[in-house]
Each structure stands twice: as structure tokens, then as C-alpha cells.
């Protein structure tokens, strides 16, 4: 069963001047994670806002858990959790204050709201900071609290809009673990991201969007296959280039590409190819200056799918600042 369905969504701003969504359709199978991957301005946030009942599309329709988002938004709101790009919490209040308040707004009752707040604070390792104003939290803590706020009623369907944008690597890792835990619990998740690696880590299926429409979709592996998968990249001293090139060609079984002293080739066996190469280099007494597996980036995906690099595609007229994409 499909938990989330969006069909032919169109959304324009400023009387059609700016097209945010251009006939976008996607769906999420119950209990799975869909990663919506795209650059800034591709329409990720607009899609999430429409599905979460915050925005009305110009045309098209959408259902969440079988309920029409446009006809029955109140019903949808009872079932979903939403966590946006910015931590949408009251910063002057403490973490505990916020969670209790949201519990009350979900009509949990006083004591259950308090219990749930304590439970979530513990689960997200915020118990120590519970009584401090959110202003004093780090970026990662804010995001965790924001996520906790969207989990108060244990929603079956969760929308996370760029949950790790702006976090440091450590914060991102923590957030990924948290999200993976959630997914194990059986929620259906629609997640937007700018990072291929993030979609790779978290999503069962990826929809790549560009200029307001889905340009490719499939599993992470399928997508990478399309892009060309991983590449082995190795940099050596000038004297060793020829020998190293031969080794790389032999192990990868593919044609190599040489740029200055850096040799690269597509590999299908990932880290095994890397280890084999290292061993072979060692035997040949070649010491690489740099060696690694290069995963295709969002740019690579875009380059191969669209022929252009990922860029902000909503062109904002400079004169007017307000009312654009939100």
C-alpha cells in the first residue's frame, strides 16, 4: 500500500513567473523510506509543505494514508510528523517546555504530555539540557529536539525536510543513527536531502528532482549504476605512473583515466578493489601519495542525468526579495 501519493503537483509563485513544482508525482510505499534528492530550489520543501497541509498546490492532488490532503487537512495533521529545515521550536523556552507544549497541542492531556516529554528527552539524549532554553543548544541538539517534537504522537508517517543541512559531520552521523532507529520502528518516511550519501544511507528508494519535477527514481544502487558507480582514484609519483596505471587497469578491469599524476577507473567491487590495489602497489614498492574510493556525488548524479551541474534552479528576480520560494 502506498502511504503517500502526490500526483501531478503544480505550484507557481508570483502569478506563474516562478515555477516551483512542475507536474511532480511521487509515492512512498508503507513502511519504507523515500529520499527526495535535489539541489536548493528544486522543489523539495514545496513538496513537503504541500504534503504536510501547509501549502495548497495550484493543481494536482495528494493523499497521505489514503486521506486527501486538500479535502481533509485536519485528519492528515493528526497522522503526520513534520520536521523542517529550521528547528521550529520556541527558543526562549526550555526543551522540556517545548515538548510539553506540543504534547498539549496534540491533546495528550497534562500528565501524559509530561511523561512523553521526559521519555523523548531521554531517548534523544537531551535530559541534561531539558531545563535550559533552546537558545543555548548546539545545532545538533536543536535538530534532535525538533525531531522529538514531531514524534510526540508516534506518527506513522514522517516528513523530514533536510534534517542534517547545516550540521557538522558528528551531528550528521548522530542524526542518521536516530533516523535509522525510527525507521526500524516501522514509520513511513519521506526525507529530502541535498546529499547523495545521506539518501544512500537512509533511503530505500530515491527520487531525484530538478526544476520541480522528478527526473529519476530507483534504489540507490540502480541510481549509482546509472551514474557509473564508484571510482578508484590514486595519486603517485611521476616515476610510478606507468606501473600504477597498469595495476589499476588490471584490478578494475576497466580503462583508466589519467590526469597529471592521478589515475582513476570505475570499480564494481568497492573496498575489495581498494585493498587489492594497495597490496599490488606494496608488492611493486610503489607508495601512493593518495588513494581512495570516490563515490558519485550529487553533482555526478546531476551531470549524468541532466547534463548540467546541480545548481539553484529557481531564478529569483533580484528586484523583489519577498514571496519567492519558501
Amino acid at each position: 500500500m502506498k502511504s503517500v501519493i502526490a500526483e501531478n503537483l503544480v505550484k507557481t509563485y508570483r502569478k506563474g513567473e516562478v515555477i516551483a513544482l512542475n507536474d511532480l508525482s511521487l509515492d512512498v510505499e508503507e513502511g519504507t523510506v523515500l529520499g527526495v534528492l535535489g539541489p536548493n530550489g528544486a522543489g523539495k520543501t514545496t513538496t513537503v509543505r504541500i504534503l504536510a497541509t501547509l501549502l495548497k498546490p495550484d493543481s494536482g492532488h495528494a493523499t497521505v494514508a489514503g486521506i486527501d490532503v486538500l479535502k481533509n487537512p485536519d485528519k492528515v495533521r493528526e497522522l503526520i510528523g513534520l520536521s523542517g529545515q529550521y528547528a521550529a521550536v520556541d527558543e526562549t523556552l526550555t526543551g522540556w517546555d517545548n515538548l510539553v507544549m506540543f504534547g498539549r497541542l496534540y491533546h495528550l492531556g497534562r500528565q501524559p504530555s509530561i511523561d512523553r516529554a521526559n521519555e523523548l528527552l531521554e531517548r534523544f539524549e537531551l535530559t541534561e539540557a531539558a531545563r535550559r532554553p533552546i537558545k543555548t543548544y548546539s545545532g545538533g541538539m536543536r535538530r534532535r529536539l525538533d525531531l522529538a517534537a514531531s514524534l510526540i504522537v508516534k506518527p506513522k508517517i514522517l516528513f523530514l525536510d533536510e534534517p542534517t543541512t547545516g550540521l557538522d559531520p558528528r551531528g550528521r552521523q548522530d542524526m542518521w543513527l536516530t533516523i535509522q532507529e525510527l525507521v526500524k520502528g516501522g514509520v513511513t518516511l519521506l526525507l529530502t536531502t541535498q546529499y547523495l550519501e545521506e539518501a544512500d544511507q537512509l533511503a530505500d528508494e530515491i527520487a531525484v528532482i530538478d526544476r520541480g519535477t522528478v527526473i529519476a527514481r530507483g534504489t540507490s544502487d540502480a541510481l549509482k549504476m546509472q551514474v557509473g558507480g564508484e571510482r578508484l582514484e590514486i595519486t603517485v609519483d611521476n616515476a610510478d605512473v606507468a606501473a600504477a596505471q597498469e595495476i589499476v587497469a588490471r584490478i578494475s578491469g576497466n580503462a583508466t583515466h589519467l590526469e597529471l599524476r592521478t589515475i582513476s577507473a570505475p570499480v564494481s567491487t568497492g573496498s575489495i578493489a581498494l585493498m587489492d590495489t594497495l597490496r599490488a602497489l606494496d608488492v611493486a614498492k610503489i607508495h601512493p601519495l593518495d588513494i581512495g574510493l570516490k563515490r558519485p556525488s550529487l553533482d555526478d548524479v546531476f551531470l549524468s542525468l541532466t547534463g548540467h551541474v546541480a545548481e539553484e534552479t529557481v531564478v529569483e528576480p533580484i528586484k523583489k526579495k519577498r514571496g519567492g520560494k519558501k
Partner: protein, 264 residues
């Protein structure tokens, strides 16, 4: 819908909690009016002639009270604009709560803050020699008027906050609206000294009628503002009441509609 009241109260409680967590909010809301009291009482007050028994401060304090509650317009608008900017309003809108609860709750919260501010202002006034002479009932009624006036203006603030979005712009807009309204009035100086056109404006200005109403309720003869025999200066209580009801009848539905429909 059965949760409508509890939703509103939860939002209101949030503002009281803010006050508890950041008591400076109350200090900042009162520091400017207290400065005005001192400024007009001791700097300008000496040169403003009045034959008012008890001195200029008796005429001044009602003006300051009205000016203070008039700034509710700006503070409501700024608070709402900040919530929108931080995405908090989006989160509220994604919750299964009754539609008007977020803005109604905010007007309640701002109204409660106004009570605290008015108490502080009354104490400040008392300290510099202000003494209402009309008795407890009339004095209480005056404060009730002030409270209601602030509440009515709060709803304009909601509409401004929802329309302008950027907190800094809201601040300027709020100032642009409240500044002329409070100064082109009888709050600090008699309207007799103004050019004819301004005088008409000043006398029909809701701030003037409110100030006149409060002066009357505090037991003053309202000579200060009532120059022409214009209707609002003759019946300040009735006119003020009319204005307050009018503002609420217009701006409550407008604001709620705007909130329901707004999509950015």
C-alpha cells in the same frame, strides 16, 4: 473543536512561560513608558502650563497609559512575525489544533502582559505624584478601558504581523502607525495649539478619545483635550467604546481569515 479552548490556553501559557524564562521581556516593555513618564513629568512638565489641581502629571499619566497599550499593536505584530520567520507557525499549522487558536492565544498572552505593564506604570505614576480622585470603581473601569483598547489593537497587530512577515519591517510599520497616533492627540499637549486640520484629526483620533475617557474616569475635568465642541471630545467614553468594538469587528475576522488562507 472540543479542544479549541485548551489549544488557545496552551498558546497563551507559552507566552507566560516566556515571561518566566526571560523576565527581561517585562523590563523592556515597561522601560520606555517609564522613561516617558520621567521625561514629560520632569523635563517638559515644568514648561507646560496647566491649571489642573495636582499638576500636569494628572493629565500626563492617562496619556502615557494609552500610549503604552497602543504599542501592543507593534509588540503583537513583532512577536507573530518572529514566530513565522522561525518556522514555529508552520509547526503549529501542521498540528491538529483549531485554526484560530494560535493567533487568539497570542492576543490573550499579549493582553496578560499588558496587565503587568499597566500595574508597573500605575506604580511609576504613583511614585511621581499621580493620584486618581474618582474612587475605586471608576479607576478600575479606566483600567478596563485601557486593557480592552490594547486588546483591540492587538488584532491589528496580528494582521500586520501576518502580512509583513519580516520582523524588522514589522517593527518599523508598527512604529509608523503608533507614533503619529499617539502624538497627534491630546495625550501630551492640548489640541488647541494645532493647526485646524490636525486638530480635527487629533480630536477624532481614538488615542485622544481614550485619553479623554481615562481622564474623565480618573476624576479630571477634561478641559485639556476638549477644545472644539466636536462629538468625540464631548462623549469620549462612548466614542472610545465604539472604536474598540469597531476595531474588533473589523480586524478579528480579517486576521483569522488571513491566518487560515495564508500560504507562503
Amino acid at each position: 473543536m472540543k479542544y479549541a479552548i485548551s489549544d488557545v490556553l496552551t498558546i497563551t501559557k507559552r507566552q507566560l512561560l516566556q515571561l518566566a524564562r526571560v523576565p527581561e521581556i517585562l523590563v523592556f516593555s515597561t522601560i520606555q513608558p517609564v522613561m516617558f513618564v520621567l521625561l514629560f513629568r520632569y523635563v517638559f512638565g515644568g514648561s507646560i502650563e496647566s491649571d489642573q489641581p495636582g499638576g500636569y502629571v494628572q493629565l500626563l499619566m492617562p496619556g502615557i497609559f494609552v500610549q503604552t497599550v497602543a504599542f501592543t499593536l507593534a509588540s503583537t505584530a513583532i512577536g507573530l512575525a518572529e514566530d513565522m520567520k522561525k518556522g514555529l507557525i508552520d509547526r503549529f499549522r501542521s498540528l491538529p489544533i483549531s485554526r484560530g487558536a494560535v493567533i487568539i492565544g497570542r492576543t490573550f498572552g499579549d493582553a496578560l502582559l499588558n496587565i503587568l505593564v499597566l500595574v508597573v506604570m500605575a506604580l511609576a505614576g504613583f511614585a511621581v505624584g499621580w493620584r486618581p480622585t474618582s474612587g475605586i470603581v471608576q479607576t478600575t473601569l479606566a483600567f478596563l478601558f485601557l486593557f480592552m483598547f490594547g486588546y483591540a489593537l492587538s488584532w491589528i497587530g496580528i494582521l500586520v504581523g501576518l502580512s509583513v512577515k519580516e520582523a524588522r519591517t514589522v517593527q518599523s510599520v508598527g512604529f509608523l502607525v503608533t507614533f503619529p497616533l499617539t502624538f497627534l492627540s491630546n495625550a501630551f499637549a492640548p489640541t488647541t495649539g494645532m493647526p485646524r486640520a490636525l486638530q480635527y484629526f487629533a480630536e477624532w483620533n481614538p488615542v485622544s478619545t481614550m485619553v479623554a475617557a481615562c481622564r474623565q474616569l480618573f476624576g479630571l475635568e477634561n478641559k485639556f483635550g476638549a477644545t472644539a465642541n466636536s462629538w468625540p471630545s464631548q462623549y469620549p467614553l462612548e466614542t472610545s467604546l465604539f472604536y474598540m468594538v469597531l476595531l474588533m469587528v473589523i480586524f478579528i475576522p480579517l486576521s483569522i481569515r488571513k491566518y487560515k488562507n495564508f500560504s507562503s
